[in-house]
Amino acid sequence: MGSITLMHYLVLGALLFCCGLLTMVVKRNAVGILIGVELVLNAANVNLVAFGRYRGAGIDGQAAALFVIVLAAAEAAVAIAIFMNFYRHLTTVDVDRGDLLRG
């Protein structure tokens, strides 16, 4: 059993990304989609930290990850505000019921 290499982290990140993406696509609940977004973002974070660690980039990877976490928090706040409004208009959080952006 070898040591844990960069490839492992990348595979984990990819899996996590796929899970997040899948969640975004299949979940009709708005909160579910938000969770999917979080998964995708965190998959990116995994990759950032892994590259930072293995490619000798100092703390750049961690810094970027922290930045993304902060951004995700802000994003979540905004998204939840949008959903609150969405709910107020449609009394549901099922995104398929809202197609106001349809062209």
Binding site: L21, M24, V25, V26, R28, I33, V95, D96, G98, D99, L100, L101, R102, G103
Partner: protein, 729 residues
């Protein structure tokens, strides 16, 4: 200007003043004052011209030459000045006096005649109009007589034509009258067309349109063998001949010569005094007068044509006159025949004889026309001599004066003496010259005259007694025809016609005045008007005396130098008469006798003969079918051409224009609707529509479903990565 010229000028202008007065205020003058105004005017002219004649007679040659003054400039044609002046010579004086004298008495006659003939239309009097026209005619005719330039001659030439038109068409409510007026004017215009072209030739070749100047230049140019005038022109005649012939065309029209003689008989639609004045005494003789004036411009070939035209005309007129039954038509055809004699005289070189005949003819023909007017007026507008007869009882003066006219035209006289009437001298003089030209020895007795009289015509003719010859003025230039004898027909045809003339005139007189009345109605109402008898008597007296004593010497002195037979004086005239006596001396007796024999017992004998000679009679009755021929060919041809032109204009020219505009509209429609709307607009709209449709298609992807967007985004990214990897790999 000399006093003589001023007198002639004044005598010319006075009738113009009368015309203006009558034109502006004639209606107010009314009847018969308007007539007396015109009569007074022409009488004043007559007195003036009488004074001129008297004074002229008393002058010697030097004084006569001094009496002519230089012409005054009128205008400029190109760079050739046109001048006008009075052509003062014996011929002018003689003709002027004749015109004013005859006119005056015809005016007097007209006052009586028109009193009953002018008011028949809707109660509107045209009496003053008649005299206004008559005054205008007198002015024009006198102007024509004194004109000294060809242009001025042409101006008055057309004016007398206008007066003739207006007076023939005086009874214009009758369609036949206005048609006759048009015919007269248009036929004259055909001749004038030639006249204008002749003037063009004079201008071109001679560069001087005055009579004297043209004659001088013509002599110079013809003397020069290299001059353009001697070049050959169309039909083998040289340009000089054409010049003369074209000018002669005018005379053919005005003097009713063959082939333009057709208008004169129709002109009898005019009032009878008009026929007497214009269509017998004066205007129709103007053609002969013109030929006399341009005589020096005529080459021997041209003179031969003149003689030929005259010969045909005099035959034609006499033959047709034989069968006419309208008294005025008989006189009209006899006028044509007599004009033919004059023209023949001009053509054979009997310059003096022809003009002499012109003057005597004016008297006796005016006399006879007035006589016929008296008859027509007296018989309530009956003009057919078959319905008259026996009128001598009712109209003794008319009958007697008419007979004097008949004797004069027939050339009655006592052969071998100088006792005779007008035609006896004048017509026989023409025949005498024709005889000598035909049978005279071409060279014998002739003396070349050219060097002695350089101003004479180029083909100047010299003569000795009545034996004459033509020699060329310039030695070395031969004109074969110049000295050749004329065709014998030019003598024998007029001689034969000289037998016919007394016949038809006597027939006319006899049927009118003698025998038994054939129509009681006509006879019963016939009467003479006192006012109208006076002119008859005066003109009869004139016919008896005036012809011989006054005119011939006046004319003779003017004769172009070297002219053929200008000096046939009393003594030689006897000789000529002696020579010709067996041939023509008794012609009038024969003619009269035949006529009286035929018509003494009424019309039946003549009718029987006419039945025998049916085709000939019909030919003559239809005047050789000239009217029909011209009507068919010329008038019909013009109408056809006019119709074709009109059709061409409306169908072809306008058709092209309309088609052009229609096709422009079509093109506009095509370019505006088809091309513009479909192609150009189509392209622009197509782009828009495609964009629109593409937008619509793309819009359908925008479902607004967020999950689909995510899926698509993911799929897109995947595809791009895939592509990048594939490309990189």
């Amino acid at each position: 200007m000399s006093s003589l010229e001023l007198m002639l000028l004044a005598a010319t202008v006075i009738p113009l003043g009368s015309f203006l007065l009558l034109a502006l205020a004639g209606a107010r003058l009314g009847k018969p004052l308007a007539g007396w105004v015109a009569t007074a005017a022409i009488a004043a002219s007559c007195v003036l011209s009488g004074l001129v004649v008297v004074r002229w007679q008393g002058m010697d040659a030097a004084a006569r030459a001094a009496a002519r003054s230089a012409p005054v400039p009128w205008t400029v044609l190109g760079d050739v000045p046109l001048e006008v002046g009075v052509n003062l010579d014996g011929l002018t004086v003689a003709v002027f006096f004749m015109v004013t004298f005859v006119s005056t008495w015809i005016h007097v006659f007209s006052i009586g005649y028109m009193a009953g003939h002018s008011d028949e239309i809707d109660g509107r009097s045209k009496f003053h109009r008649f005299f206004a026209f008559l005054s205008l005619f007198c002015f024009s005719m006198l102007g024509l007589v004194i004109a000294d330039s060809l242009v001025l001659t042409f101006v008055f030439w057309e004016l007398v034509g206008l007066c003739s038109y207006l007076l023939i068409g005086f009874y214009f409510h009758k369609p036949s009258a206005s048609a006759a007026a048009i015919k007269a004017f248009v036929v004259n215009r055909v001749g004038d067309m030639g006249f204008i072209l002749g003037l063009g030739m004079v201008f071109w070749f001679l560069g001087d349109l005055s009579l004297a100047g043209a004659a001088r230049r013509f002599a110079e140019a013809c003397g020069d063998p290299g001059s353009a005038l001697r070049q050959a022109g169309p039909l083998g005649l040289d340009m000089a001949t054409w010049l003369g012939l074209l000018l002669f065309c005018g005379a053919v029209g005005k003097s009713a010569q063959f082939p333009l003689h057709v208008w004169l008989p129709d002109a009898m639609e005019g009032p009878t005094p008009v026929s007497a004045l214009i269509h017998a005494a004066t205007m129709v003789a103007a053609g002969v007068y013109l030929v006399a004036r341009i005589f020096v411009l005529l080459t021997p070939q041209a003179l031969l044509v003149v003689a030929g035209a005259g010969c045909i005309t005099l035959t034609l007129g006499a033959l047709v006159a034989v069968v006419q039954t309208d008294i005025k038509k008989v006189l009209a055809y006899s006028t044509i025949s007599q004009l033919g004699y004059m023209m023949l005289g001009m053509g054979v070189g009997a310059w003096i004889g022809a003009l002499f005949h012109l003057l005597t003819h004016a008297f006796f023909k005016a006399l006879m026309f007035l006589g016929s007017g008296q008859v027509i007026e007296g018989c309530h507008h009956e003009q057919d001599i078959r319905r008259m007869g026996g009128l001598w009882r009712r109209m003794p003066v008319t009958c007697a004066t008419f007979l004097i006219g008949v004797l004069a035209i027939a050339g009655a006289g006592i052969p071998g003496t100088s006792v005779g009437l007008g035609g006896f001298f004048s017509k026989d003089e023409i025949l005498a010259v024709a005889y000598s030209r035909v049978y005279g020895d071409g060279t014998h007795g002739a003396r070349p005259h050219g060097s002695a009289a350089p101003a004479a015509g180029p083909w100047a003719m010299t003569e000795t007694g009545h034996r004459s010859a033509l020699t060329h003025a310039v030695p070395g230039v031969e004109h074969a025809q110049a000295s050749a004898p004329l065709p014998a027909l030019l003598f024998w045809v007029p001689v034969i016609v000289a037998y016919i003339t007394p016949f038809y005139m006597m027939r006319c007189w006899w049927l009118t005045f003698m025998g038994r009345p054939r129509d009681d109605h006509v006879h019963a109402h016939a009467r003479e008007s006192a006012l109208m008898v006076v002119p008859l008597v005066v003109l009869a007296a004139g016919t008896l005396v005036c012809g011989l004593v006054l005119f011939r010497p006046l004319v003779a002195e003017v004769a172009p130098a070297g002219l053929l037979a200008p000096t046939v004086d009393g003594h030689e005239l006897h000789e000529v008469h002696h020579a010709l006596m067996p041939i023509v001396g008794g012609a009038f007796v024969v003619g009269f006798a035949v006529a009286i024999a035929l018509y003494a017992r009424g019309l039946s004998l003549a009718a029987a003969i006419a039945r025998r000679l049916r085709p000939l009679h019909r030919l003559l009755e239809h005047k050789f079918y000239f009217d029909e021929l011209y009507g068919l060919v010329l008038v019909g041809g013009t109408h056809l051409l006019k119709g074709l032109c009109d059709l061409f204009d409306r169908i072809v020219v306008d058709g092209i224009v309309d088609a052009l505009s229609a096709s422009t509209v079509r093109l506009a429609r095509f370019s505006g609707r088809d091309l513009d709307e479909r192609v150009v607009d189509g392209a622009v709209n197509g782009v828009g529509r495609t964009t629109w449709e593409l937008g619509g298609a793309a819009g359908s992807l925008q479902t607004g479903r967020i999950r689909l967007y995510i899926l698509l985004a993911a799929g897109g990214v995947t595809a791009m990565v895939w592509l990048a990897l594939a490309a990189g790999g």
